[in-house]
Subunit: 481 residues, 2 copies
């Protein structure tokens, strides 16, 4: 039997998987990995290492973890430390309280009770405070092992292959590619609506209606995804815009999927995060009794950026208990790490005024937000100085997503190489400067070119990165015009 | 619009999910949850709490975590502790080494390099030592976020819905129900082979051949699952038996899925764990160049029982790089918690002779294994004293799976209540003694009745549990005969 005839091969494997890309790994990222290898092998480049600006990993880029959170986690992991004096008293107190609720006081147990019964009421309280008192039902909250798995599990619940038409998932353009990949994996149909870049990346509901009209000829649109704050766009939706979206979801009978993982990363003066749920309930029972909503939260983003730990939660609204129960079953394949759940515990129930760790905990948040604002302003300013680059105001999240002019000759060359013009640009930028940013992975309005850059490097470093990008873009423009 | 007409409801949701149960949660478990609530509400029962013997959560049942492992994890989580004197020097050294390899020295980063490049060679070395030098290729090893997700991801790769026949997954009876649930979720077809209880739960390859013959009329069997040591059966496969299985897989062109998560839990004198991979390679290139094999490992089992942390690995053999690459993509939806990966790091690269923590680390393992042996002997002995119970020799894993006689009248009563006879027995046992064990979730040979009991409670407690079970079974037998 030849090796090619082995049972599992490219022809026999799940064909849907072939359509899934590695998240945040386009061809530019792959080239960056090769280049780093070349550098390690001693090949001389105009730079000493790759500058990764293609993804948001705050702690990898120098952000400090939050002291109280890490103290609680370390204490719970190794409780002998409770007898030492290296920790704030409230961290010790919190760790003791948590250990009492863990099965046999151990993070090494599955702890279904802690994950499934202790956490949801705490999360519900957190949501109620966030939403000015709008009630949250702990029975409809599930702790997850991270955003990717949350998205997969929601799709696993919604995509019904026994129906004659494929399930349509309506997503904004641009969007974080996780959605495209998950849709491909489930063999669902992606239905796109283009965000209105001219108006601060607002959601134009007429465009969604138009997309739906066309889509309904060949699929059954069920879910409308809204990313607020936006990734990669860094916009924050206005309250009015959210009302429009909710009215549309009600009229078109769509389940709203609110990716609100950047809810704590809102820093622009005048920008406020309104959760879709809060607005839904403020619109009254005509909407709040009807519209189905799923909202996700992650410890990877926000102020803490604990990407390595892997946890978050999902809140369901207006999903009947029987359906929810089945989601719970799906979720049982994705038991989160209890260590990550402890981090979530701290974030939804942070130190209070008067607690020894309160000042530090607050200061860490304030510093982070003012630093994010400073970096966003710097990016807007520096990028917009180049007449060939247009960066919309950045109100939240961790990225800039500037629109770049690509000269005609570069577009033709890109076409010859089978590349999108912005991917062509990103490749050249990488080769010349070592700066890794990502192009069309996110999708964009036809005929435009963009890249996403994460704004997480220390300020001075970011300034130098932006300088190099602008300088390179000008040169690129000259060369290919 | 009536609430029943909301978009997502029981009729519109993914119908495959309706066939999935909550793992380890049959009707008996559900009743136990109710009963615990009743006890909490003050309702008087003949016992003060539910004695959970239906699942294996070593630390919840009193097992101590391994000191070195927890020290390393605590130090990496809160590196300020490196300057204190509460830790073994080798734990500090290990933590420093790990922190050097983490992105920016933080467990809060995604750390794709640590998970994807630092860990696989370490795991490969561990596997090579385990298998007496049989080579292991780090490029074919993937760190996972736990067994459930590993099983799901392998099925996600293998089940190809574009083929005319459904994908068949061949599983032993009895088996840990995760497999049935995952098969249901993917809409694959379960093909069963009954283990030979009379011969220590050996795999009878003729029975598999017969199952395949029948199954091939309606599905395309692709994967043969082998659980070694067995769950729920506690058997350890002999080397000869493994050879037979491999020959069968070669002849029938099946991918072998080796669930070897209990590989360190082998304690019976004379029993040795042979990995399927080791035997495959010892059978020579005729087999080792051809037979495709996937093997899983978990930190939840073994000596350490770190169920709460969630990690493990998968090793692929004879799966071509292009296919493997796609598995890697699937896996990118399941980023494990880096904390759990650190625990895995310690387990595949434990303290060595001469290291300060070596003696303790070894003693912890020896104590655990001798205690497991003692409990297994106790269970066999006490259960077999009852002529109506037959417990096969327990060689490994963490369970007993005794065969019990159910009197005719009880069988009729069970039928009237729509219950399997052993579920009927488990319900009554629970109501009368508060002891929770699980019946037919695992499947069994037609006409037989069994239950699974985990052997994790402290010895004296286990003795009292077993006494109560035997006493109850005798009474049950008298009452219904």
């Amino acid at each position: 039997m030849a090796p090619g005839k082995r049972l599992l091969n490219l022809e026999t494997m799940n064909q849907a998987v072939l359509h899934v890309r590695v998240p945040v790994q386009g061809s530019v990222s792959a080239r960056a990995v090769e280049m780093q290898k070349e550098i390690n092998q001693g090949i001389i480049k105009p730079f000493r290492s790759i500058t990764k600006c293609h993804y948001a990993d705050p702690q990898a880029m120098g952000h400090k973890p939050r002291t109280f959170l890490r103290q609680v986690v370390a204490l719970c992991t190794y409780p002998d430390l409770l007898d030492t004096d290296h920790f704030a008293e409230d961290a010790k107190h919190r760790a003791r309280e948590i250990l009492k609720k863990l099965d046999n006081g151990s993070v090494g147990s599955y702890n279904p009770n802690f994950i499934g019964r202790v956490m949801p009421p705490k999360i519900a309280k957190f949501i109620e405070q966030r939403d000015g008192g709008v009630p949250s039902d702990p029975r409809h909250i599930i702790v997850t092992g991270g955003t990717s798995k949350a998205v997969l599990n929601v799709l696993a619940l919604v995509v019904n292959e026994e129906e004659p038409l494929k399930t349509g998932i309506v997503v904004p353009v641009p969007h974080y590619p996780l959605y495209s990949d998950a849709i491909a994996l489930f063999g669902a149909t992606k239905v796109e609506y283009v965000l209105d870049e001219e108006h601060g990346w607002a959601v134009n509901v007429d465009r969604i209606r138009e997309s739906l009209r066309t889509a309904r000829k060949h699929c059954n649109p069920k879910v409308l995804c809204v990313l607020n704050p936006g990734n990669p766009t860094g916009h924050v939706l206005s309250r009015d815009n959210i009302e429009e979206i909710i009215r549309l979801a009600a009229e078109e009978n769509l389940l709203l999927f609110a990716d609100e993982v950047y809810q704590e990363n809102v820093f622009a003066p005048g920008s406020v995060f309104h959760s879709l749920k809060k607005v839904l309930f403020e619109m009254g029972p005509e909407y709040s009794d009807r519209v189905q909503l799923v909202s996700i939260y992650s410890i990877s983003k926000g102020i803490s950026g604990e990407c390595g730990l892997r946890s978050g939660y999902i809140e369901f609204v207006n999903v009947e208990q029987a359906v929810f129960r089945h989601f719970d079953i799906l979720k049982s394949f994705d038991i989160p790490s209890i260590i990550a759940v402890l981090a979530l515990e701290v974030l939804v129930d942070p130190p209070q005024p008067g607690d020894p760790s309160y000042e530090t905990f607050q200061a860490e948040a304030q510093n982070r937000l003012s630093s994010q604002l400073e970096k966003a302003r710097l990016a807007e300013e520096m990028l917009n100085r180049d007449p060939g680059i247009r960066c919309s105001p950045i109100q939240g999240a961790l990225y800039a997503f500037p629109c770049i002019q690509i000269p005609e000759r570069a577009i033709s060359l890109a076409q010859e190489q089978g590349q999108a013009p912005d991917v062509f640009f990103c490749h050249l930028l990488l080769e010349e400067t070592g700066i890794l940013v990502d192009g069309t992975s996110f999708g964009q309005e036809k005929g435009t070119s963009h890249f996403r850059i994460s704004l997480l490097h220390p300020l001075e470093e970011l300034k130098s990165i932006l300088e190099k990008i602008v300088e390179f873009h000008k040169k690129f423009h000259r060369e290919y015009s």
